[in-house]
């Protein structure tokens, strides 16, 4: 059976303000979906909600992973079931070395039944593996000794996210603008790496404004989000169209969603 991530009629509020208004999406393992849309349309919110950020409150609908309802689960439980999100703005954790953190995370994800205090993956085994992965991603192994995202450049942060993706090997990964803040070379390296790691093993939901990232990870599906809903879905050609022509056609075609978008933006300005 192919693994499936299903998002059904998802409504999400942040601090009582509705952001998502009924999102439906089905992603199979092995598929790559592009999620596009103007700023503020709710793309990142969808990522956070699926990953289980406590600030993002699901008011209606549900998230299913192979028919298991994960809507109420903590983020760590979701991670152990095979969900992953690469952050647009990863958080710094001063004093915590990337390698120590990853050894813990990798252990938990590979052994979801692990009780607190039980042994971690043997150091030797872990070191060998992380070294391999870092070589593959053309990263200096010294990097793993640095504190998680602390003083990292934008490019370093994104590469650290990709390293985590490579180590944790989730079933489904949401990549939230992994290309933002990167120069052309860095985007190419990142997208090649994702292709290399993801291959046909993962279900990828790639949130992006650009199609660079999609060059090496050609999407099987593309979705446009506007005003907190997915208004149109299609194939790779939709992604290319949006990249070339922008969102005017979409706004005209879905006036209700466009009105919602404007209302949300106005509210943002008055806040």
């Amino acid at each position: 059976m192919t693994d499936v991530l299903k998002i059904e009629n998802l409504h999400v509020s942040v601090e009582d303000k509705p952001i998502l208004n009924g999102v439906n999406l089905e992603l199979k393992r092995g598929e790559t979906h592009a999620l596009m849309g103007p700023n503020g349309s709710g793309k990142s919110t969808l990522g956070f909600a699926v990953m289980g950020h406590p600030k993002y409150e699901v008011t209606e609908g549900r998230i299913l992973l192979n028919d298991v309802d994960v809507t109420e689960m903590e983020a760590d439980e979701r991670a152990r079931l095979g969900l992953f999100m690469a952050f647009q703005r990863p958080i710094a954790i001063p004093g915590v070395r990337l390698a120590d953190f990853l050894r813990h995370a990798t252990t938990n994800v590979r052994n979801p039944e692990r009780k607190e205090g039980e042994d971690l993956i043997p150091m030797r085994e872990f070191r060998k593996e992380i070294k391999e992965k870092m070589n593959q991603l053309q990263m200096d192994t010294e990097f793993a000794r640095r504190y998680v995202n602390d003083g990292f450049s934008g490019g370093e942060m994104k590469r650290a996210e990709i390293l985590q993706l490579a180590m944790l090997q989730p079933k489904f990964a949401i990549l939230d603008e992994t290309d933002s803040g990167l120069d052309a070379d860095a985007v190419r390296l990142a997208s090649q790496s994702i292709a290399q790691i993801g291959g046909e093993e993962m279900g990828l939901l790639i949130i992006t404004h650009h199609d660079k990232l999609l060059e090496h990870n050609p999407p099987s599906h593309a979705h446009v989000m506007l005003g907190g809903r997915i208004v149109e879905s299609g194939g790779v050609e939709l992604a290319h169209e949006l990249h070339s022509n922008g969102y005017e056609r979409i706004r005209k075609a879905y006036p209700e969603a466009a009105a919602m978008e404007r209302a949300m933006q106005d509210e943002e300005q008055t806040v």
Binding site: A75, I91, I93, P94, G95, H104, E116
Partner: protein, 471 residues
């Protein structure tokens, strides 16, 4: 040189209980009456057979103690000084049984993976033979270099000239109420003298004598680092300390002579009913460096502000302080740097963590005396609050009498970030693992400064605190 105290069935760990001590206790275990008065003070002096000057020092200190009001600042000290035992023979304490050790302390030992025999030793129940051997060989090596490393009671008997010269010179009895108290009833503690130019590479520690030293409620430590000498002293150990008494009031004096270097590290984890009121101060002379690394866990109230007085040009003081305040705990900690001479420099880094309604306070003083030109000092204090019930506050005092100085002060308070937690949890760490990791990261600057085995134990202790299983 171990003395077998047959009548109590307890073996001395390293022989500090010398023949004289043994003779006075042979009639049985001694426990002074509760309360504080000249009679008790005289009794302590009698038992230790102290020279007259020390007896007078104690009695004068008692008068100073009685004349001083309680501090009006800091934590809430609700203590009945007449309801405390001011002196107990160590042998009596060693005579405690394993059953007397509080359950949570036993559990901590177990979680720390300390072997049964060692647990009993660390808890002060048992003296351990292996430690004695290690300690003995250490002593021999040091003695050859002319280093004196012993407990303060023994030092008073064997090196009266050094004691008379330095004792109470850094922290005189009238310094504060608790310094006066300690001066009146002090017992135990460490005495170290490092001769000129001697550098001791490995850390000296009281770990091996913990049952003797840490059990003291009023220990007195005096360290003299002579010109150009170098030492790292580690006091106590990270294993939890417990006591049936409610007051721990130590005095630690350090003298760093010209060009010397001293680092004093301590991590303490007290039982939750203890008032931990300690005065620690160092004098640093020309081009000398004094470093305090001071960690505080446990206790009901801790008031402790390690100080460095920079006495001559080129002196440097560094203080790294960390406090973890849990339920019903108030950690009022910080540091003092007093620039008394030109071209001196200092740094204070203070970190506090509060959890389960605990309160962490930073109280610090930076003072630049008249004439202390061109001094530099930086203060960084960070507080981490783990939940909405907990509290942190900062009381930085800065007094500057000269214009050409560079003083920096940075303070930050952070709640344990929801974003940090989510980030780690989204990678499969449980909330508890994630918080522990964030807290361990927060104290990493301190851990880095500790000898390996202490760093490891500190991390494990923090993990236990985070679990809430050690209250």
């Amino acid at each position: 040189m171990a003395t077998d105290i047959t009548d109590t069935g307890v073996q001395s760990p390293i022989g500090e209980i010398n023949k004289y001590d043994f003779r006075t206790t042979s009639k049985g275990v001694f426990k002074a009456k509760k309360g504080l008065n000249p009679e008790i003070v005289n009794q302590i002096s009698d038992i230790k057979d102290e020279p007259d000057w020390m007896r007078k020092f104690r009695l004068d200190s008692l008068e100073i103690f009685n004349s001083k009001p309680m501090p009006k600042w800091g934590g809430d000290i609700s203590l009945d000084f007449q309801d405390i035992y001011y002196y107990l023979k160590p042998t009596e304490k060693q005579g405690k049984t394993w059953d007397d050790v509080p359950a949570e302390i036993k559990e901590t030992f177990e979680k720390l993976g300390i072997p049964e025999a060692e647990r009993q030793y660390l808890a002060g129940v048992k003296a351990q033979f292996e430690s004695e051997v290690v300690y003995g060989s250490l002593q021999e090596d040091l003695a050859q270099k002319g280093v004196i490393f012993t407990d303060t009671d023994t030092a008073l008997r064997e090196h009266p000239e050094l004691l008379k010269e330095y004792f109470g010179t850094v922290i005189p009895p009238h310094d504060n109420k608790f310094a006066a108290l300690n001066s009146a009833v002090w017992s135990g503690g460490s005495f170290i003298y490092v001769p000129p130019g001697v550098e001791i590479e490995f850390p000296l520690q009281t770990y091996f004598r913990i049952n003797e030293e840490s059990m003291g409620q009023f220990e007195r430590t005096l360290i003299i680092v002579d010109e150009g000498a170098k030492i790292h002293y580690v006091e106590g150990c990270t294993a939890p300390m417990y006591s049936s008494e409610s007051l721990h009031s130590a005095v630690v004096e350090v003298i760093c002579k010209k060009g010397s270097r001293c680092r004093y590290s301590t991590i303490q984890n007290w039982a939750n009913n203890i008032y931990n009121l300690v005065t620690k101060r160092a004098l640093a002379y020309a081009d000398a460096t004094m470093e305090w690394v001071d960690g505080n866990l446990g206790s009901h109230l801790t008031m402790k502000y390690p100080a460095v007085y920079l006495m001559e040009p080129g002196a440097r003081g560094e203080i790294l302080s960390i406090a973890f305040a849990g339920k019903h705990q108030h950690q009022d900690t910080g540091a003092k740097l007093v620039h008394c001479a030109p071209n001196t420099s200092g740094q204070i880094i203070s970190k506090s963590i509060s959890k389960d309604g605990g309160r962490g306070s930073y109280r610090g003083l930076v003072r630049v005396e008249e004439g202390a030109h061109n001094t530099k000092c930086s203060v960084v204090c960070d507080a981490l609050i783990l939940d909405p019930e907990s509290q942190t506050d900062t009381y930085p005092y800065i007094e500057i009498m000269e214009p050409d100085v560079a003083i920096g002060h940075e303070a930050s308070v952070s709640r344990i970030g929801e974003e940090q937690l989510f980030y780690l949890m989204s990678r499969g760490l449980t909330e508890a693992e994630a918080s522990t990791m964030i807290v361990n990261g927060f104290i990493e600057p301190l851990v880095k400064e500790l000898p390996m085995e202490y760093a490891v134990e500190l991390n494990r202790l923090i993990e236990l605190q985070m679990e809430g299983s050690v209250g």
